[in-house]
């Protein structure tokens, strides 16, 4: 079996000559959420031929595309940052095909090695920097044999010169609103689509409360950072809050939120300063949190964070959690952040539902995860509770030309910003299914019902309890019944008894 050495390890591979397929199909294995596929060998050859024909560099290495071979095999994948285990990756996948050429890269060759290579039938076709040479032989099989020969002669390094055909990363939206199906929303909707009595507060840079898919859900709104009074309308292209609100409860059939029957409280706590920064006023944020739970918000969705920690904000969250919903507690969901770094404030506060992001392949979202969005990764740490879908999320956009997209909706919202309102909406469904459930129970059940992913067996700082399972969480909430009478309720009962 052909083999080569890289990073100190031998890799055995299988070669599939393209010329030998003769109009058949080229099979490619499943990987990273993408199904196994096959493609027309003729079309594949034609595409390669076009690329080679357009490149003098490639032409020098590939005199005959029919002699190329697709390389199959498996190599150990590098662990993701923060991930504890590394899997095994196929060398050629539907997204990336590795092709063996008739050329070999070698370094540190002595005169005797050159002589041996020449005797083998190899020709030096290019000399690179730092003593690299590119050798060409008559076939791919010979290239691997030359690698074997030069490895045995202990040259500095020798490896096949692969041609890599990588599918351009399509950061376009998937064909469906995948996230709701992934978390089991349709099954949860068989129990409830949300009660209008259950209010979800979205604290953000404003919400387009006149949006056709949101307007009917709005029960209260207020601007805490600007001068809009009892309006939470965003400024300019500040579409983040509108996108978050849509994930919770958009009533559009195509771009549905997870809890479309619930009500919306919109609190504007941030504004764009024109340089890609949000402006927050800590006291205003704390007041907004207090206002939300006093308005009866059952759930507070917070897709914001970073900056200097504030006791004023922490204590407002604590009041929401303990005093909201007449003592049952308002559920507080907080985004973990998108730096693939330790979770920052306020997501680092213990006891809340800090939410990280996952992708369509049920991987933790990292810069290296298979979704292709390599510019961000989900934060991690001791307070992470669970993950929820956070790439290519279909949701509402500011209506009209402003916002992320020219229309009223977007298909590419992302980040732990998008994962958080999905969890907030799930919590709202749980409370709709069981209005007597406590915030603490909601938090517990979101964890116990989460789908374990990436081989996890328990909570981890990267994955929390796993990926959100709305169907399981809502069913568990419905079955949970009322919580044990807690201190707050006991006090109330005593007071009532005394009055009587």
């Amino acid at each position: 079996m052909p083999a080569y050495k890289a990073l100190g390890q031998w890799h055995e591979v299988t070669l599939v000559p393209l010329g030998g397929l003769q109009g058949g199909k080229l099979a490619l294995p499943a990987f990273a959420g993408k199904a196994a596929t096959s493609t027309s060998a003729a079309a594949f050859l034609e595409a390669i031929g076009r690329a080679v024909g357009a490149s003098s560099v490639l032409r020098s290495r590939i005199p005959d595309v029919g002699k190329l071979s697709v390389v199959h095999g498996k190599v150990a994948a590098r662990p993701n940052n923060g991930s504890r285990r590394a899997g095994v990756s196929p060398i050629s996948t539907p997204s990336v095909q590795t092709l063996a050429t008739q050329t070999v890269i070698a370094e540190g060759m002595r005169q005797a090695d050159f002589a041996a290579a020449q005797s083998f039938g190899a020709t030096v076709i290019e000399e690179g920097l730092d003593g690299k040479v590119l050798l060409r032989v008559d076939s791919v099989d010979q290239a691997f044999a030359l690698v074997d020969l030069l490895t045995k002669r202990e040259v500095g390094s020798v490896t096949p010169n692969f041609l890599r055909r990588v599918a351009s990363i399509k950061l376009s939206a998937p064909a469906t609103a995948w996230s709701l199906k992934k978390v089991g929303a349709p099954a949860a909707w068989a129990i409830t689509r949300g009660s209008a009595d259950v209010k979800v507060a979205v604290l953000d840079e404003g919400v387009d409360t006149s949006h056709p898919a949101l307007k009917a859900a709005v029960v209260a709104e207020k601007d805490f950072i600007g001068s809009n009074g009892n309006s939470a309308m965003p400024a300019g292209n500040d579409a983040h809050g509108t996108a978050c609100a849509g994930i919770v409860l958009s009533r559009d059939a195509t771009y549905s939120g997870v809890a479309p029957g619930c009500s919306l409280i919109a609190a504007r706590i941030a504004m764009d300063d024109g340089t890609g920064h949000w402006v927050f006023d800590d006291f205003a944020t704390a007041d907004a949190i207090d206002w939300c739970w006093r308005q009866g918000a059952a759930v507070l969705s917070n897709s914001w964070g970073g900056g200097a920690p504030s006791d004023a904000i922490s204590r407002a969250f604590a009041r929401a959690r303990t005093q909201g919903r007449n003592g049952l507690g308002a559920v507080v969901a907080i985004a973990a952040g998108n730096d693939q770094a330790p979770i920052d404030f306020p997501g680092d506060l213990p006891g809340y539902i800090t939410v990280g992001a996952s992708n369509p392949a049920d991987e933790r979202k990292t810069r290296a995860s298979s979704d292709g969005e390599n510019r961000w990764g989900s934060n991690y740490g001791a307070t992470i509770h669970l993950l929820a879908p956070g790439v290519f999320i279909w949701t509402t956009d500011i209506s009209g030309p402003a916002g992320y997209d020219p229309g009223d909706f977007t298909k590419t919202f992302n980040g732990t910003s998008s994962a958080t309102p999905l969890v907030a909406g799930a919590a709202a469904l749980m409370i709709s299914a069981n209005p007597a459930i406590s915030a603490a129970s909601v938090r517990d059940l979101l964890g116990t019902t989460a789908k374990r992913i990436e081989g996890q067996t328990t909570w981890t700082p990267e994955l929390g309890w796993g990926r959100l399972d709305v169907a399981g969480a809502v069913a568990a909430a419905k079955a949970a019944g009322a919580p044990p009478v807690g201190k707050v309720l006991k006090k109330k009962l005593k007071k009532t008894a005394k009055k009587k």
Binding site: H240, G276, D281, D282, A312, R375, T412
Partner: protein, 189 residues
């Protein structure tokens, strides 16, 4: 470090070490948190400036402002003349700027104290009483006290908050911060 206030309170009160310099820390969850003073920048409180009749001076600031929002303009100190800086400061419209990683923090002249017990409230009131002439209380309820230093200076508020934390240990005490935080990018795809 640059002096940010001109007044020094009598010893013994809450303002005993009142702003001889720009303080560079605050407390959260009882722990000291460092801030990095940004001496190159100042923040202009637009409302305070306008109330002091400095509209024209403020109107010129946005051209050089590096950040603006929530009624605050952050600009380079060098972009303002010495006279303008003094006038803004005298009007309580010039606030200190700090950095914390990628975040820009502006301290505003307001302190919020929260109480869980009557004892905490009494301790804070006792600490404040000798210096009562130097601040005004804008909210006074069972569980909250909101204080504004008469200097209108955010550094004074930060210093006062620290003093209250260190000497009275209430449930929480915070100076008001306006923060400019990097926004999660949602790049057009």
């Amino acid at each position: 470090m640059r002096a940010t206030a001109t007044w020094v309170a009598p010893a013994g009160g809450a303002f005993a070490v009142y702003c001889s310099r720009m303080v560079a820390y605050y407390y959260t969850a009882g722990q000291k948190v460092s801030l990095e003073p940004d001496e190159e920048h100042v923040a202009v409180d637009q409302t305070a400036a306008q109330q002091a009749g400095l509209n024209a001076k403020v109107a010129a600031v946005p051209k050089s402002a590096v950040r603006s929002g929530a009624g605050v303009l952050v600009t380079t100190r060098a972009s303002l003349t010495a006279d303008t800086l003094r006038e803004l400061q005298d009007a309580g419209a010039l606030q200190p700027v700090y950095k914390r990683g990628k975040v820009v923090v502006v301290a505003m002249p307001e302190v919020r104290v929260e109480f869980d017990t009557q004892d905490q409230r009494s301790r804070v009131k006792k600490l404040l009483s000798p210096s009562a002439a130097h601040f005004s209380i804008t909210e006074d309820s069972t569980d909250r006290l909101v204080i504004r230093p008469n200097s209108g200076n955010g550094a004074d508020a930060l210093n006062l908050a620290n003093r209250i934390q260190e000497h009275s240990d209430p449930a929480a005490v915070s100076a008001r911060f306006v923060q400019f935080v990097p926004k999660p990018p949602q790049e057009p795809l």
